[in-house]
């Protein structure tokens, strides 16, 4: 976005002053997608006014009519959500899990990308990449079956191994202690190859002469990684970081909901996040205004976080900011 502005300010003179036939045609060409954005992105934003209303479906009238006729209730819906005793737990879970994921998904893939780039055989490297990329294409439903095959208390592999070593069976799906690790592991498992390939792609783009010069100066591999590779892929790292920070109030719904088999009561405190809470509220009979308020809270927090993160980054290093 940043570049956009500099480019357009560099060539304002080339812009025609008048509306041309070209502009009309381009507008028409962009119209279908614009309508899509209006309906599926901007209409829901407008629909968020429902969280400031005491919404009741008036019998005999349509949804919209009821929406407009229901009473404004200020921040009452938010109060309900923010002061409920699950809120603290949800906030803690969502943010802590995200922080852990951000750190893991930064450190591991970058390290592995640097390592895999060193392998002698490029064919082996391609082969490893293909295999490690594989989990990324599985949906969480399928992954939840994988996990179930391992963790099923009576038949799963984990308990089979434990009992054959003389240990006691673990009732995985009702033992909250293990789940932070299981969830972190599954999240890493699914995205490791993908992230590694993203970083690898930018590592292979680094000018090779930099390394040649470094070798002549007697740089070790470690020094090359520290002073050439990492600084070169820094823009990529920062971009991924900002994007992930911007999602810190969201959670990967599939991970938390599917892998835990629908967040059973025994795991409620350890595997609930804002998204699972909202989804469960949506499925139950909770007031739609209150669930929408929870969603608006989430979206607003994210928007603020991403803008703040971007602002800080732009102060430190203007080129790396994404907006």
């Amino acid at each position: 976005m940043n570049k956009e502005k500099t480019v357009s300010s560099a060539e304002p003179r080339r812009k025609r002053k008048h509306w041309s036939r070209d502009d009309t045609e381009l507008t028409l060409l962009g119209l279908p997608a614009t309508i899509w954005f209006a309906v599926f992105c901007y209409l829901p934003m407008f629909g968020l006014i429902i969280s400031f209303k005491d919404f009741k479906l008036i019998p005999g009238k349509g949804f919209l009519a009821s929406l407009f006729q229901s009473e404004w209730c200020g921040f009452k819906n938010f109060n309900f959500f923010l002061s409920s005793n699950t809120f603290g737990m949800l906030l803690r879970n969502t943010i802590l899990y995200n922080l852990v994921f951000i750190v893991i998904n930064l450190v591991l893939p970058v390290t592995l990308a640097i390592l895999i780039n060193q392998l002698y055989s490029k064919r082996a490297s391609k082969c490893y990449q293909t295999m490690m990329f594989f989990p990324y294409f599985m949906s969480w439903v399928v992954v939840s079956y994988f996990v179930y095959a391992f963790l099923n208390p009576d038949k799963g592999l984990a308990n089979n191994v434990i009992t054959s070593l003389g240990g006691e069976k673990v009732m995985w799906y009702s033992a909250p202690v293990y789940w932070p690790f299981i969830l972190a592991f599954m999240s890493t498992w699914k995205s490791l190859g993908y992230n590694m390939v993203v970083y690898l792609a930018s590592i292979t783009g680094i000018d090779n002469t930099l390394y040649e010069a470094a070798i002549l100066d007697g740089a070790t591999k470690w020094q090359q990684a520290k002073y050439i590779t990492i600084p070169s892929i820094k823009p990529m790292i920062i971009m991924m970081f900002i994007l992930n920070i911007g999602k810190i109030f969201y959670s990967d719904f599939g991970l938390f909901y599917q892998v835990t088999q629908g967040v059973p009561a025994s795991l409620y405190n350890v595997a609930s996040t804002f998204d699972t809470f909202i989804y469960q509220a949506l499925q139950s009979s909770a007031s739609i205004g209150q669930t929408a308020a929870a969603g608006l809270f989430q979206a607003a927090c994210c928007c603020i976080t991403i803008l703040v993160a971007n602002f800080i980054v732009s102060k430190l290093d203007a080129d790396s900011a994404i907006i």
Binding site: I215, G295, A299
Partner: protein, 321 residues
């Protein structure tokens, strides 16, 4: 110096250069032992990534008997194809779900690619007067959105799309990220001169887009098409929100429902058995895993061939546009 001598000298110089290049390349290699260690490390990681698939396949071909005795074994005592036979007997349900998945994936991908790339093309034209406005239209949803509830309200209560195919297709058709990928692609690969010359020949923008831009931009179409295809094929969430009719269940949704309720598939017992008899005859444990295998196989077969388009898409996406 004669010509031959000169040639000789040049040859020697080149050989020396090559030698040097090889030496530096060699110098910059890791030690053979480290290389071996790294290979082991990546072999282990690859194994961890693929192992669950192997395990699930093994469970799906285990006989009920051996599952009852030994649990899910890595190598079952007795093999059985009963799970797949069962799926074959239930092919009405399965193939219908498959059909829904395929229809949604195909229509969604075509529609999504058209919407995304046309928008990307419009944004890539530097002289377009509304470009800044449309840039913001595309960019704002990346940092703020209405969330699950508001989307649900719009799709289900305002547009009344629930329990139709469209609620599986439309909400996933476009994403700002894809639009920006295609915009960056068009901006960086299509020379302005081609478009200018077509304009001088009197072509409209629609003609330019469909006759010139589309044929020379196959990579970006492949990339976005693939993102969308996998997105639609793997989607279960839209289904779980909007679909309550049984005849609109996709494969992923079927699998999702079976997790909650094992005899979901047995809702319409076919061969005149009572529900109880039917349940007893069903190799329940292996059937679930067999369906998971049915979903995974097409992806597993297809993606190694398309992986490069994914990677190219990711790298284009990383370039700020």
């Amino acid at each position: 110096m004669t010509l031959a001598e000169k040639r000789q000298a040049r040859k020697a110089e080149k050989a020396l250069e090559r030698e040097e290049a090889r030496a530096t390349a060699h110098m910059n290699q890791i030690k053979p032992l480290t290389n071996a260690l790294f290979n082991v490390l990546f072999a282990i990681l690859s194994f961890i990534c693929l192992f669950p698939v192997f395990y699930v396949v093994m469970i799906s071909v285990s006989s009920e008997e051996s599952i009852r005795l030994n649990g899910y074994a890595l190598w079952p005592e007795t093999f059985s194809n009963s799970a797949y036979m069962f799926l074959w007997n239930e092919r009405g349900t399965i193939s219908h779900a498959l059909l829904i998945s395929v229809i949604v994936t195909v229509i969604g991908t075509v529609l999504g690619v058209l919407l995304t790339t046309s928008m990307g093309y419009v944004l890539s034209r530097p002289q377009y007067r509304l470009r800044n406005f449309f840039n913001w239209v595309v960019f704002i949803p990346m940092i703020f959105n209405g969330g699950m509830v508001a989307n649900y309200v719009v799709v289900a209560n305002m547009l009344h799309l629930n329990d139709t195919l469209w609620c599986l297709i439309l909400p996933l058709a476009v994403s700002s990220f894809n639009v920006i990928i295609s915009k960056t692609f068009f901006r960086t690969t299509i020379p302005d001169s081609i478009i200018e010359s077509a304009k001088i020949d009197g072509a409209s923008q629609l003609t330019i887009f469909s006759r010139i831009v589309v044929p020379i931009s196959k990579p970006v179409f492949a990339t976005i098409g693939l993102f969308l295809t996998f997105g639609y094929w793997n989607d279960w969430f839209q289904s779980s929100l909007y679909i309550s009719k049984n005849n609109l269940i996709s494969l992923q949704a079927l699998l999702n429902n079976m997790m909650k309720n094992l005899d979901y598939i047995a809702n319409n017992p076919s061969a005149g058995l009572s529900l109880q008899q039917y349940r007893n005859s069903m190799p329940s444990e292996s059937v679930r895993m067999a369906i998971a295998v049915v979903i995974v196989i097409p992806i597993a077969c297809a993606y190694p061939f398309f992986q490069k388009y994914f990677i190219s898409g990711l790298t284009i996406g990383a370039v700020k546009g």
